[in-house]
């Protein structure tokens, strides 16, 4: 039995550099990749780190929405580049970077960062990046520092491919309102992940919900969200099981962990890049829980609040991780 994430490439930096590359890749729309970084900046100058695909190194061909939380401050911003991380001078940072070539052909990257780790000034940053161009596959990934040689000795980059069993892969050929995945065997020992790429081609903004075992009463679920859009950071709570959301005419990409907790409640943790097919992408994190308990999950309904709100080209990939 193999492990869920297979190591594709492992680069440890022996001589300070400005750029590292992974080449000869074959990342398709079927795949999900994870890049785990440990970047040391031993120089006397701060540096950002950018990520590029397929040697498309024009920074304005990417947009980044980000927020940071540093001590008691939290702030958001959006930039026309592909920054996935940053380091102050003589500091270290680590990030978990999810890389997805969406069904639409756009690339979505989600980076979650511990900056200044090892120190009392440890803080966090979350960066979501989208390409403005489409690709049929990803053959190269390049990481560069904006300050020369700020990928210092001891830095490490580990690129993984998710090779867990995919139990369902649904590509929408005709717009629908609901999708039911049946025949599931999700128990308290199970770990599942849903990778979704939703196109809302309707005329109305749509909320997308997860409902289990035929329990379609939305008030039997609650969710809490945290959002970052341009310079605004906001949060809220709602009495329905939303795991993604897309305004009219836009696409959203979400990675959602699904779990039946030991207490028997259905939970879902979702990290969403909203409006990824635009220059005004947004970040939303959503956590939801049922108010009722179950011994297992046999059915999951993906439901749009808008009739036919799950548009053509939407895709849902369900992985069994355990």
């Amino acid at each position: 039995m193999g492990i869920a994430y297979a190591l594709i490439s492992d680069i440890t930096v022996g001589v300070a550099t400005t750029s590292i590359s992974f080449s000869g890749l074959n990342i398709t729309k079927d795949d999900d990749y994870l890049l785990v970084t440990d970047i040391i900046n031993s120089t006397a100058t701060p540096s950002d780190y950018r990520i590029f695909i397929n040697n498309n190194i024009t920074t304005t061909n990417y947009y980044t929405q980000q927020y940071y939380a540093k001590s008691t401050s939290i702030a958001s911003s959006r930039v026309n580049s592909s920054v996935f991380m940053g380091n102050d001078q003589s500091k270290k940072g680590s990030s978990f970077v999810k890389i997805k070539l969406c069904n639409s052909g756009y690339t979505v990257i989600q980076s979650e960062i511990n900056r200044n780790y090892g120190e009392s000034s440890n803080f966090t940053q979350n960066e979501h990046i989208v390409s403005t161009f489409t690709s049929s596959s990803i053959t190269d990934i390049t990481v560069t520092s904006t300050n020369s040689l700020s990928i210092s000795v001891g830095s490490r980059f580990m690129l993984y491919k998710l090779v867990a069993t995919k139990v369902s892969d649904i590509i929408i050929g005709s717009a629908v309102t609901n999708i039911d995945i049946t025949g599931l065997e999700i128990y308290k020992n199970s770990e599942y992940m849903l990778v979704s790429d939703i196109s809302n081609s309707s005329a109305t903004d749509a909320s997308y919900r997860l409902l289990i075992n035929g329990n379609t009463t939305v008030t039997n679920y609650y969710m809490q969200y945290l959002s970052s859009s341009s310079t605004s950071t906001s949060s809220g709570r709602a009495n329905y099981p939303e795991f993604s959301w897309s305004p009219s005419g836009y696409r959203s990409s979400a990675l959602t962990r699904l779990k039946l907790s030991n207490s028997g409640y259905f939970t879902a943790f979702s990290e969403i890049t909203r409006k990824y097919n635009s220059t005004t992408l947004e970040i939303q994190s959503e956590i939801l829980s049922s108010t009722f308990t179950s011994t297992n999950i046999t059915q999951i309904r993906i439901s749009s609040t808008i009739t036919n709100g799950i548009g053509i080209g939407s895709r849902f990939q369900l992985y069994k991780l355990k």
Binding site: A69, E112, N114, E119, T124, I170
Partner: protein, 178 residues
């Protein structure tokens, strides 16, 4: 529209899956849980999934320690709390795995990484009071101030005695490795 699962795939056990290293299901309230005999290297990726139940009438959180280094000030933790429309952030000089709860439950995912530099970092997504209408979100980003060459033990400790109640569960997985 209804979709059946692929009939050619067996759903008994995933062929490439998370490797379960430790599974602690709490049957008697306790203050501390220790996972020992671990061999976590700089080349591994680990995930801790926690269902923390506190049935006491007093609030408690759980700390997360490595290699018996249980000095709280050897860790720093940046947090983001989103509760309703309120967002609060801060940094604490301690180790924190779960949020404070009183007679309630937390459910959370924690990525654990021993970095090439030897420091340990964690990233936690915590659903606090999660089966209720007051569900909130805590994100914790923790770092050790010490370095190590490997992680041999993980200790989860409640701030108050017996604050890890019956029904709590801690599942440690290896999810990636060289």
């Amino acid at each position: 529209m209804s979709f059946l699962l692929n009939p050619f795939i067996s759903y008994g056990v995933a062929s490439n899956s998370y490797e379960l290293i430790y599974d602690a299901v709490i049957s008697s309230s306790t203050t501390s849980v220790t996972m020992s005999g671990l061999t976590i290297s700089k080349s591994d990726e680990y995930l801790l999934i926690t269902d923390h139940v506190n049935t006491l009438a007093s609030p408690t959180y759980c700390a997360l320690y490595f290699n018996n280094n249980t000095t709280p000030t050897n860790y720093y933790n940046q947090y983001i709390k989103a509760s309703g429309t309120s967002i609060v952030t801060g940094i604490s000089n301690l180790s924190q795995l779960t949020s404070y709860i009183t007679n309630n439950k937390n459910f959370l995912y924690t990525k654990i990484k021993l970095l090439n530099s030897g420091y340990i970092i964690c990233q936690t997504d915590n659903a606090g009071v999660y089966p209720t209408s007051l569900i909130d979100s805590f994100k914790f980003y923790m770092t050790s101030t010490f370095t190590t060459s490997s992680i041999t033990s993980i200790t989860i400790t409640s701030e108050i005695t017996n604050g890890i109640s019956v029904g709590s569960r801690f599942q440690l997985y290896r999810i990636g490795r060289v």
